[in-house]
Symmetry: C2
DNA sequence: TGCGGGAACCGTAACGGTTCAGTAAGTGTG
DNA sequence: CACACTTACTGAACCGTTACGGTTCCCGCA
């Protein structure tokens, strides 16, 4: 493929204009405002461009001048590749991509290694705005985004002053789930949650660590759980909460095992994500316990796999979250002054992994 | 969050320099080459920057000057959001994202609506290179990419002169599968394939349409199938091939139904993707046929769900493909002159959805 | 006292476009 | 025939930065 004909340096708008003996403006207009020049001249410009291997106006130079990049940046908490492993994240991405597509914008995935303090990737992203998805509130990348003078939408993050936000009511959602379990009779429960801070902690999470968690979503869910169970007299201090840094089914499995080891009497394991719950389910069954007869397992998210195994969980509209975030960012009719907030509905999915706990006698002596 | 202190126009490197009474170069150096100025002055620069709300050098302007964007563009054939529905595509994305992450580059998803002829999105992408994934060979977006004077890697596409490429040997891979079926005794088969051209055609695909397909991968697989079965005397003209535009399980199901309607005697349905095969599986069972006793179903890709249902299929290293494409693009040690090519291995996965066809009598009268 | 050499900083010229206020020629109108 | 209006094109300013090749100053050393 021939990319330039006679010069070693690639053709530019200026060289093309020189070749044609017209002004740069005219060449620019040939591409951007066809009505500003005669059809004949325009054709001549375009033909010469082809002959010289001129690929059209340089996007970066254009961006500099027009002050728009035609792209939206996405910052997420995890290694970039992780986003593609978690079905909930993929759903969010899909929704965001849809919104971008509608607005004819690109979607720039920004590498933000959580281990690195290096925020250069945020500084070097040529975008018209950012979507920040579920990043710990003390992440330097988040701070770097906030410094950039472009609109930003946050999702699954605590409110920030003057920043648009989309999310769900995590607390209300998981309270529905908790009340369902309470109605079924569960009082001795265990919890498996995702990472609460940027530092690794695979094991029990003290109430203090829970309430200081940097991941808003996890903190909100745990707090709501404690409140819901407090209503029926459960002392949250006594409820074992196992934290896992990696968000995988393996993590869910090992956490469930740990939980049952810590307190064999628990009748339900509440997981703060479906992925963790699926792992817990597998582990519990591997140990020969039946679900829900011997133990109840619940998740959160409502991913496809969860539905497939009839997990009792909360469905949240992940795709809609992404789409809403994108729309908020790209919608020109903003500038209302006040930051906007979109809260989406969730739905309790009563599957077949939650049931009434059997009494202790039953558990020992069989039904 | 205060974004600029005293001026209405946002601060620039120049205004910062003026405020400080130093040259622009020095301010630039404060950010990019700390060793070029005294620590005290650097601190003064950075402090003043904070005070003025200067967010650091503008990424677009920097890109223009340095001629690098720190991002890789990805062009795919489908609506952007589609990429997130197909597990194989997600795997590819994950691999590519990994490679980008390693090189500290962003990954820009370029909206390329296949319906639109509009290639502006390609022209306005500020990237250092492109990865083109499974785009029909007559897609204008592909042509637009080729005109951009940046390195490009293609994947799951036919070779293009001077362009690096990564892929698998689709023909060899599916021939292995075909021979497996042939050994089992299948001679009357039907095929379900993905779209063969940019124009919608939900129905039978003539041999001519097959050989003229614009999607390289599909064409290669169909051609190889015809060759493999020709070796045992099967007349490909007689083999029904049902094409589906949308790549969904529903498509696979309806295509399988159509196939069985067209020729009730087929003993195997070969699908060119796992997604289609999963749909076919569901449909066939819905009709009360047992797999593999009554009919054999095969797929292609080796996605997780396929493994879960023990589909007989071909596993291809989707993640590795993405990673390889990214590495090829970002690897500085290029300029070898010759275009590079990476061909990855595939593996026949003999699951439980392929078996020996029963004789016609057995089929009519039971075993 | 003269001089080599590094540290610290600076001036200018790109980088490749877009934009806007013109200008000159052509067209229709009363 | 003067006037307004349109069409087709141009010139210069500007977008915000970094690359390149200096200059200045100070210090150590013979």
């Amino acid at each position: 493929m021939v990319r330039s004909t006679n010069s070693r340096r690639p053709a530019t708008l200026a060289s093309l204009a020189a070749e044609l003996g017209v002004s740069r403006t005219t060449v620019s207009n040939a591409y951007n405002r066809p009505d500003q020049l005669s059809p004949e001249l325009r054709k001549r410009v375009l033909d010469t461009a082809r002959r010289l291997g001129y690929p059209g106006p340089d996007p970066v130079a254009r961006s500099l001048r027009t002050r728009k990049a035609g792209a939206v940046g996405l910052l997420l908490t995890e290694n970039l590749s992780y986003a593609f492993r978690d079905p909930a994240a993929v759903g969010f991405l899909e929704g965001l991509a849809l919104a971008c597509e509608d607005a004819d914008h690109g979607l720039l995935l920004i590498p933000a290694n959580p281990e690195h303090e290096d925020v250069a990737s945020v500084h070097s992203a040529g975008v018209d705005g950012f979507v920040v998805y579920s990043v710990p509130d003390d992440d330097p990348h988040l701070a770097a985004v906030m410094e950039r003078p472009v609109p930003t939408v946050i999702c699954d993050q605590p409110s920030l002053p003057e920043i648009d936000r989309v999310g769900i009511d995590d607390g209300a959602a998981i309270k529905d789930l908790a009340r369902h379990l309470i109605e079924l009779g569960h009082r001795k429960i265990g919890v498996v949650c995702m990472r609460l801070a940027r530092t690794r902690n695979d094991g029990p999470a003290s109430p203090e660590r829970q309430s200081r968690a940097n991941f808003h979503v996890q903190r909100a869910r745990l707090t709501a759980l404690s409140e819901a169970f407090a209503e029926v007299g459960v002392d949250w201090e006594q409820v074992p909460v196992i934290e896992r840094f990696d968000h995988t089914t393996e993590s869910g499995g090992s956490a469930a095992a740990r939980l049952m080891e810590l307190d064999p009497e628990i009748t339900a394991i509440i997981c703060t994500s479906d992925i963790l719950a699926l792992g817990a389910l597998t582990e519990v069954r591997r140990q020969g316990r039946r679900v829900p007869q011997d133990i109840t397992i619940t998740g959160f998210d409502g991913i496809d796999d969860a539905e497939r195994v009839e997990l009792t969980t909360v469905r949240q509209p992940v795709l809609e979250k992404g789409r809403a975030a994108g729309r908020l960012l790209l919608d020109a009719s903003e500038s209302t002054g006040k930051p906007r907030e979109v809260l989406l509905d969730t739905q309790l999915l009563t599957g077949s992994t939650a049931g009434s706990p059997r009494s202790v006698e039953e558990r020992w002596f069989g039904p």
